[in-house]
């Protein structure tokens, strides 16, 4: 029996519009076939979100075909048929004996497909950064060896730049994700107390990220970081075996995922009263956050936004070494625009960013605040709406 088509997040026209933009780019680069390997780009162009990138896979876009062809492990093909907008004939599962097989793997099937479709003799676009197969060897050289007549073109980030500007349909989904992130941040404020295990609080917060908000559940679990005293100077520890204590400070970073789209949010919590230093840093960071968001408008650059933050922070006697954020959408961090000094990307309406103001001041002292926002026609709109306060618990 065949699997049914699942509910579709976006209409077919939305995917065809995205594909048209990619094909325009392909034409400019004079390539006939584009082997898309980035999981986020595959989600963008097909609607597929299942966890399948742990083995070779590729979404092959041909200039001659309206729809791409998704080549993947056979075990995972039914998920793609169910989730994606693709015609079922455009999902090809390769045999299981290519898994953990040092002689031949899924990339060979993709290469065979190019030969069969007459796409092996002209320009072929790759995303080399996603071709290396982590667990069982290298994938990239194989393309050069087995496609000797093709002109291999590095198309890294070509699709990522296209998806930097979201459609209104995408913004609506990110808004759902943002509401979930807000709920998780508020749940943390409700459950973090002296004597509570960090793991028990994490279970509540992650549970909220999954249960969702406004009747819309989360649909995946993004990396979760809860760095509490004495670890507030660290950025990416999940949680520890400790319990919270009087005077514990907790820096929380959550990502809520709704049908592939992520909204991220950070807040800082203190059990009891904050130190003067923490309070001053919080006030400086909030002022910097507002200065950054007030700088956002179409025509401003990422660098302008970052520098608005840095200058405000410096006026209050603090500095931040790391960048101020990055484009966000599918799969959390997008690899294109950065909110950092010198990034000349010009903002456009419906670009979305995570303005990430985590500031790890010393090895044992840090602070976190952030928002997920979109660029509007005239400024910025924070999609996340949790209070911009230092939560005193």
């Amino acid at each position: 029996m065949t699997i049914s088509k699942g509910p579709q997040l976006f209409p077919r026209e939305e995917y065809l519009r995205r594909l048209a933009a990619v094909k325009k780019e392909m034409a400019q680069r004079d390539i006939d076939a584009f082997i898309v390997s980035s999981p986020a780009n595959i989600t963008y162009l097909s609607g597929h979100t299942a966890h399948t990138a742990y083995v070779p896979q590729g979404l092959v876009i041909s200039m001659q075909e309206e729809e791409p062809t998704f080549i993947m492990r056979r075990m995972d093909a039914p998920a793609a048929i169910h989730e994606s907008f693709l015609n079922r004939n455009n999902v090809i599962g390769y045999p299981e004996n290519l898994i953990a097989n040092p002689e031949k793997d899924g990339y060979d099937v993709i290469i065979d497909f190019l030969h069969e479709r007459g796409l092996a003799n002209r320009g072929v676009g790759l995303e080399p950064g996603f071709l290396t197969l982590k667990q069982f060897g290298r994938g990239q050289d194989k393309f050069a060896i087995r496609l000797p007549k093709a002109r291999i073109v590095d198309c890294s980030r070509a699709i990522d730049w296209i998806r930097l500007v979201k459609s209104d349909l995408e913004i609506a989904v990110m808004r759902e994700a943002a509401a979930i992130a807000d709920a998780a941040i508020m749940r943390a404020a409700a459950v973090i107390r002296p004597g509570v295990r960090e793991a028990d609080a994490a279970a509540e917060v992650v549970g909220t990220l999954i249960r969702g908000a406004n009747g819309k559940p989360g649909t995946a679990i993004a990396p979760y970081c809860m760095c509490s005293s004495p670890r507030t100077g660290t950025a990416h520890i999940r949680w520890s075996d400790d319990v919270f204590r009087e005077d514990s400070q907790i820096n929380l970073e959550v990502g809520a995922v709704r049908q592939g789209y992520t909204a991220a949010l950070m807040r800082t919590y203190i059990i009891g009263k904050p130190s003067d230093r923490l309070r001053r840093l919080h006030e400086a960071e909030v002022a910097g956050l507002e200065a950054a968001l007030n700088t956002v408008r179409p025509g401003a650059t990422c660098s302008d936004v970052a520098n608005a933050f840095y200058r405000t922070l410096e006026k209050q006697g603090f500095t931040k070494e790391s960048r101020c954020g990055y484009a966000i959408g599918i799969d959390w961090t997008e690899p294109t625009a950065s909110l950092r000094d010198g990034d000349t990307t010009v903002l456009k309406p419906n670009m979305t960013f995570h303005v990430m103001l985590g500031n790890w001041v010393e090895e044992d002292f840090g602070y976190a605040i952030s928002e997920t926002f979109r660029v509007t026609d005239s400024g910025s709109e924070a999609l996340t709406t949790a209070p911009r306060k230092l939560f005193e618990l």
Copy 2:
């Protein structure tokens, strides 16, 4: 102020023993420096588990030094000082302006370090499968270009083969993880009911994976898959927006993580009475599972174990296309031994495997059962102990 050293999972001698085994391998390959990039191998050799592999990092082992040097993003260095057994001077954070910087990145800092330490003119081991930086470019060529006098040696999987056999200390941690996996599987049986949203059940199961068992919390969230009707023919969908219904079947795969070590477990649930076909498949799979576990003993091969399963299943009128499992430990799937036909790896005591008998028979029909087990001196011991039943809810 400096960050404190966190509680250590293993004594220093355990890490030095592991490093000695790696250095023996380095001597055989005539390399002076080994740049370890696999996050699981870094955990194995240092105790570091924080989420830091999203940007370039490397644990550099030198034949001249007892301890390795961990080079990573500055923001993340405090986590490594806190978590790892390394002397704080052996953790080097590189500047934040190397993030999202197309001119220079963390790999350049690692290469500079090799030059400074006089390690740039002889054999240098790499794990190329982990060098490609997903988001901001390619890392591998840089080593060839900037280390022209070095002999670059592909050391892929060298450490993975060493960590295939666990110490008793590692087995103890995996036993804690297995108890958490058992608890999660039982929690699913308690909460899956008609009318319950899949997301609400997922929140409960994941919550259990975080809260843990026997007073030992989970310490990270592994990929989670709950494939319910009409998606039982899929393998890696997280969950959906649906509610469970009368007659829903649910195939659940959980991974419990305890301080870096994973135990995985799969079970199948049915609301109401199973179809005859599902019941027969369940019985055949359990018989196959037992045949496989009864074949495990030091001296048998992975292929022997897989074929014991396949032959038993075939006698009952079923087949399974995919492999029967893989080595498991740090980071879930280890990239070495596979329980598949033709894998001649000889079993040794304290190797650990996930015997993974998920069987996606048709696009719309599948079944899942598995155990995490260790090889004992004379046979096998399942670390996971949930009932091997088809859960009828």
